[in-house]
């Protein structure tokens, strides 16, 4: 009888030990009950990858309350993007200021001939300026979305910032349409002159004539202008596609797709802005006579000879050198 009592005690002790071991196992192996009021938000995210419920409105996607990718995206938007944009834009401005102070304006070395040649037709200039005007407004209103809150809001206050941001967003949305039309037209009207060739390698090796007083030969568009063309076409195309994806939410993708679209849109945009700063620089104060090409549509023959010698030869062979118009008074670009 005594041995039977000892046997019972051993069995009960073993069961008690087993129960303690089972209870002390890691909590992650337990099944999470999402409806339990004691369940933690972080625990739910780990188990379910997103917190989603049911909603009574037709759009069932609005039932997603939280998803981990959204936190990564918010971190990118609030921190990483500002660093990328700040470095790209301020870095480019710094490079241009240093370059201007050290090199100065690229002068017309042979002086003005007094004769001009048509560089861009009125339609080409119309397309350029429509795209450029829209781009500037899109850039300013887009940068406001990324940098407005930390930089502009403390300066002008909540009310003014709210009003400005609302109108900037309208402008950003609606001017995207003429901008996209402009990018498509730019692609079509200038594609023939912007196919890269061997001459571009030589032009790049010689620094495009920007350093020193070299004048590497070029056809209608040199390697630098071709680079700008492809940045506009590819970059403009990318910001247009991703922008419309954001403008029409959930038509093309879910929330993850739109987060990727926003990342592509914003990164390409800030790099686009940096590249256009260089384009604006060289087209205005960076090179004597360059602005006239898009301003009046004509350039001085000596300018064409120095910067686009092969294009000038082509034009002369086609129309004859005497086709160039005489200019009554030479006006510098600056």
């Amino acid at each position: 009888m005594a041995s039977f009592g000892r046997y019972i005690r051993v069995v009960l002790g073993a069961w008690a030990f087993l129960l303690i071991v089972l209870m002390s196992m890691p909590s992650s192996a337990q099944q999470v009950n999402p409806t339990a009021s004691s369940v933690k938000e972080q625990q739910l995210l780990q188990e379910l990858n997103r917190i989603q419920g049911r909603v009574s409105i037709p759009d069932q996607r609005s039932g997603v309350l939280e998803q981990p990718a959204g936190r990564d995206w918010r971190e990118f938007r609030n921190v990483t993007l500002r660093w990328i944009g700040g470095i790209a834009i301020i870095g480019m401005l710094a490079v241009l200021v240093i370059f201007y102070l050290s090199r100065g304006m690229v002068r017309l070395e042979s002086g003005r001939s007094g004769r001009s040649i048509v560089r861009f037709t009125p339609f080409e200039r119309f397309v350029h300026w429509m795209t450029a005007t829209c781009f500037i407004i899109l850039a300013v209103s887009g940068l406001n979305i990324t940098f407005g809150r930390p930089l502009l809001l403390p300066l002008i206050g909540f009310e003014a910032f709210s009003e400005w941001s609302q109108w900037a967003k309208y402008a950003h949305n609606y001017l995207s349409f003429p901008f996209t039309i402009g990018v498509v037209l730019i692609f079509l009207i200038w594609i023939a002159g912007n196919i890269p060739n061997k001459l571009d390698i030589d032009w790049l090796k010689r620094g495009g004539g920007m350093i020193g007083h070299d004048h590497p030969p070029a056809y209608r568009f040199n390697a630098g202008q071709k680079a700008i063309y492809w940045i506009v076409v590819v970059g403009g195309g990318a910001v247009a596609v991703t922008g419309y994806q954001l403008m029409f939410p959930f038509y093309l993708s879910g929330i993850e797709g739109m987060q990727i679209a926003q990342i592509v849109h914003s990164v390409v945009s800030v790099l686009f802005v940096a590249a256009m700063l260089a384009h604006i620089y060289i087209g205005t104060i960076g090179m004597e006579g360059a602005f006239e090409a898009m301003g009046s549509g004509t350039v001085d023959v000596n300018w064409a000879k120095e910067h686009h010698s092969l294009w000038l030869e082509e034009q002369n062979a086609r129309t004859g050198p005497n086709e160039a118009r005489s200019q009554p008074a030479a006006t510098p670009a600056e």
């Binding site: 409105i57 037709p58 759009d59 200039r125 119309f126 397309v127 300026w129 429509m130 005007t133 003429p178």
Partner: protein, 40 residues
């Protein structure tokens, strides 16, 4: 200068056309997200 001004006018016209077209084809939020059980 003429090309620039025409470009600005054209950009404005395209933008206004976009406003009109989008306002025509898109449902207002009050209609798109309302049901018999929910009114916005």
């Amino acid at each position: 200068m003429k090309s620039f001004l025409l470009a600005c006018i054209a950009a404005g016209i395209f933008a206004v056309v976009a406003v009109v077209v989008l306002n025509t084809i898109q449902e207002p939020v009050q209609r798109a997200f309302a049901t018999s059980g929910v009114r916005l």
